[in-house]
């Protein structure tokens, strides 16, 4: 199984050293805190793997009763065009609501076969994820979905139930959140895999601010 890369927080140790003053007792807590983050990321990778399994199976069950997605359902085709990426990028810049025939298929998936799924169907899949799938798991829908129609999606949840009990203190909350958010990342990756979008890279951001500790976003990059 391919594991999606997990990058909840860029350079956690850097941000910490900027915040704390250089004092002997503080160095100790800096190291401890950095070690805690590293340990959290390691366990997060496992949790993400578990989430993948669960997400895949859950999505399978949920999608059973649904009609096939979109007009351009995934079909195995060898991609005759030599350089699809610039073409796809150009097409993406034009109005994405053009007819499906106007959008060249976006190649994704592993190297062993070329499965193509057009942007509209991708969007349908992600919307299914945001609505039905998310509701099954979290009893609410994703609050905000953004996409650039070129395989990048940002899913924002402003009130993720699992994060609600985090302590208001920033650092320990961040460490806890890394572990907790790994599971939904895996869920998303698994669900997408089940729907035909293999090889997606899912990362997450913990968007806690003073108001809400439970706010987070998930970034999906489909190749």
């Amino acid at each position: 199984q391919k594991e999606g890369s997990h990058s909840p927080n860029d350079n956690p140790s850097q941000s910490q050293s900027q915040q704390s003053q250089p004092q002997p007792s503080d160095n100790h807590t800096e190291e401890d805190a950095a070690a805690a983050v590293i340990a959290a990321e390691r366990s997060a990778a496992r949790i993400e793997r578990m989430g993948y399994d669960v997400g895949y199976r859950l999505c399978e069950r949920l999608a059973q009763h649904r009609p096939l997605l979109g007009p351009g359902s995934p079909s195995p085709e060898t991609n005759a065009e030599s350089s699809p990426s610039p073409a796809a990028a150009l097409a993406g810049n034009t109005a994405a609501d053009a007819s499906p025939a106007g959008n060249p298929p976006i190649v994704m998936g592993g190297g062993h076969h070329h499965t193509t799924m057009d942007a509209k169907t991708q969007l349908e899949a992600v919307k299914f994820l945001c609505k039905e799938f998310w509701t099954e798991v979290f009893r609410k829908q994703i609050d905000k979905l953004q996409t650039n129609h070129r395989g990048v999606f940002v899913l924002k949840d402003q009130e993720l139930k699992w994060l609600k009990r985090l302590p208001p203190d920033e650092e320990s909350a961040r460490v806890g959140a890394i572990r907790i958010l790994a599971f939904p990342c895996g869920l998303i990756r698994g669900a997408l895999g089940c729907l035909g979008l293999n090889g997606a890279v899912v990362s997450c951001d913990f968007l806690a601010d003073g108001r809400s500790m439970a706010s987070c976003s998930f970034n999906i990059k489909v190749k």
Binding site: R46, R49, M50, G51, D53, V54, R57, L58, R61, E136, V137
Partner: protein, 202 residues
């Protein structure tokens, strides 16, 4: 006996007020946890021990929640359990009901009243689960896995917090072909009030 139906009714009331989660998500998540443990430890006996350990820390938290919710609802449980039989009823009819929504039965009390069994007809943890067939290359091993051993840890952890030290074992398992699930609980000792235990790090 009136205490029996009281417990059942109270259990129903507690369950009604609990926030609910998707049962399939629950079963699948537990399944991937067990898979992960099997992958790590390989030896099913070790996996059983880990599940018991995890269950223990869950049980410790469950009992807190249970006691606070039962109290608030005016059920005044802390004064009601006079003996192990009452405790057994509460665990089965209220505890299992409240957290899992299932009706568990108690029975098979031993002569000295220190052992009892909890029977579960349905096991929410084992939805979709099949243990692998006997297999000469070592699949036989997984038959020694106690898939739902988490329950044993939960009961052990919960009762420990109310000063009852117990041993729990799964003696019958629908995953292994039995017609119901049976957990045997044996009282080892009644602990003196240990204030020091509160400060012990997990």
């Amino acid at each position: 006996m009136s205490s029996k139906s009281q417990a059942a009714q109270a259990g129903q009331a507690l369950w009604a007020k609990m926030p609910k989660a998707n049962a399939e998500l629950f079963a699948l998540t537990y399944g991937s946890l067990v898979t992960e443990l099997v992958r790590d430890y390989e030896d099913p006996i070790e996996v059983n021990a880990q599940l018991d350990r995890i269950g223990h820390s869950i049980g410790v938290r469950c009992v807190d929640e249970f006691l606070s919710k039962a109290d608030v609802a005016g059920m005044g449980l802390t004064t009601q359990c006079q003996n192990l039989r009452d405790t057994a009823e509460v665990v089965a009819k209220m505890g299992f009901k409240m957290f899992l929504g299932i009706q568990a039965e108690v029975g098979a009390f031993s002569q000295d009243q220190r052992c009892f069994s909890i029977y579960l007809q349905d096991n929410p943890l084992s939805t979709f689960v099949e243990l692998p067939e006997d297999d000469p290359s070592g699949g036989e091993d997984l038959r020694r896995l106690k898939y739902s051993n988490l329950y044993c840890g939960v009961i052990r952890g919960a009762l420990e917090q109310v000063n009852l030290k117990v041993d729990c074992n799964i003696v019958r398992d629908t995953l292994k072909g039995d017609e119901l699930n049976e957990i045997r609980v044996e009282l080892k000792e009644v602990l003196a009030d240990g204030a020091g235990d509160d400060y012990k790090e997990e």
